[in-house]
Structures are given as C-alpha cells and as structure tokens.
Symmetry: C2
Subunit: 159 residues, 2 copies
C-alpha cells in the first residue's frame, strides 16, 4: 500500500471531496428551506416512488441508501410518524417488512422535487458543458457499479 497520489490526482481528489461535501450540505439546506424534507427523506421517497407498487423491503432500502439496519429503522419510523410512508409485513415473508409510499409521501415528493432539481441545476448542472456531462456520467456510473458490486478491483501498485 502506498500513500502517493501525483500532484494532479491529489488536486483532483481534494477538489472533488471538498466541493461535494460542501455541495451536499447546501442541497440539504436548500431542501429544508423549501420543504419539510431532509435529503435522506427525499431519497427514501424517490426510491419508493420508482419501485414496483411503490414499496420496498427494508433490507433492499437499507442497501440502496447505504444505511445500517438501525439507521434505516430510525429513518422510516420518523417518516411514518409524519405520514410519508407506511410499514407493512411482507406478503411472502411474515418476518420481513416493507416500506410503502403513502399518498401524502408522493405529494411531498412532487412538491419538493422541482426545488431540489433547481438547486442541482443552479449549483452544478447548468454550469457543465456536454463533454463534462459525458465525463461525469461515465466516471460516476463506473464508481457506483464498483461500489455496488462490493469488490473494488484496485490497481494497487506493489511496493
């Protein structure tokens, strides 16, 4: 294992991680200013709205959100109290449970989405030219696939 990144790659890494962390904080602030939702609430609503029957097993939802089971339980309970989701036992597996999007959840998502996407455009997307869009899509689709597969094929130099 070696620490070294050449100076171009180190500058790239710092720019990516610092700007992205700042950006996610800003997206959260923008979303909370325009809706009752946190970014985590928003992502839960998006995933449920896109799932067949607008419902997902808790384990699947935890995997998609990269949440621990206890964090997801807390997140879904909080959303359940606000009427945004319901929780039901799985038809196929009585021990398992599913989160189900409610009508109120769908309406909250539909109301928040334009504001959230306007933030995404304002801070980042409208600033990109077509070549940059293609580059970012390529890089982050590869990263997402690799992380989902859970097996990072590293080209670690032998030292």
């Amino acid at each position: 294992m070696t620490e070294g990144l050449d100076s171009e790659r180190m500058a790239c890494w710092r720019a990516y991680i610092e700007a992205s962390q700042r950006f996610f904080t800003r997206l959260e602030d923008d979303l909370r200013a325009e809706s009752e939702l946190s970014l985590a609430d928003y992502h839960v609503l998006v995933l449920l709205s896109e799932a067949p029957g607008q419902r997902l097993r808790m384990g699947e939802l935890a995997e998609r959100l990269v949440f621990s089971p206890s964090r997801l339980t807390y997140q879904i309970s909080a959303m359940q109290k606000r009427g945004l989701v319901a929780k039901e036992s799985c038809p196929q597996d009585r021990r398992g449970s599913e989160a189900v999007l409610t009508a109120a959840g769908l309406l909250a998502l539909r109301e928040a989405a334009p504001h959230h996407l306007a933030s995404a455009r304002q801070h980042l997307m409208d600033d990109l030219d077509d070549a940059e869009v293609a580059c970012l899509t390529r890089v982050f689709e590869r990263l997402g696939r690799r992380l989902r597969a859970g097996r990072d094929v590293a080209s670690t130099p032998s030292d």
Copy 2:
C-alpha cells in the same frame, strides 16, 4: 424556476449523487476500520495541520467544514476529550477561541492518511485516465469556488 433536466443531464446527476453518497459512506467505513477517526475527525485534523501554527479560529473552521457552530462545538469537544485537539482563547480576541492541533492529533492523522488515500485510490482515483482527472478537477474546483463565494450565478432559463 423549472424542473426539467434533459435525460443526459438527469442521468449524470443521478450517477453523481448516488455514487458519491455511497462512496462517502464507504470512505467513512474504511477509515473507521483502520483508525479511531471518523471522516469529520479526519477533515478537522487535515485543516488544522495545514493552517499556520496548526491552529484555526472556531468560526473559520466551521466555515471550512460547512458545520453549524453547535455541530462544530460538539465535534471539537469530542476530539478534545480524546486529546486530538486543544481549545484556547484567541490572543487577539478574548471572546473568540481557536482549535489547536496536538502532537497526538498530528500522529493520528499521519497514521490514518495512508489508509484513507489508499481507499481514495482504490475506489476512484486509480480508475481515472488523465483526461478524466483534468475534467473532474475543473468541474469541482469551479463548484467549490461558486459555493464558497455563496453566490451561485445560475443560468436559470426564464420561463
């Protein structure tokens, strides 16, 4: 304000935000597996190690980390208990206070850094070609500058 992103830009946005959130969770897991530090601890240590005299005013540190004052107070108190930082009143302004890197903090950072950078390489950086490095640097340096300036010049279409 309009919701629309064309399909290429929507795919780009989803790839970026989903992969980055998954990636930050993985970086945090990797760091905790190899050290006693969270990502927030690590970033505090990096910022202090790079500051003149290895010390920063609390307000400056909050701004750099994009933390609220109360979140930063909590963060620094927790690090102080573990001996990683000290807190002193500012020489120039007795009401203000500064976080100061301790020797133990510097050693913890030096021990964690190779592992953290190895994660960065393994999951992302070693997979990028030179053109992708140049593109990401350009895009995220622009994003960082815009967010720091706090004045996003949006090219919002008039609709």
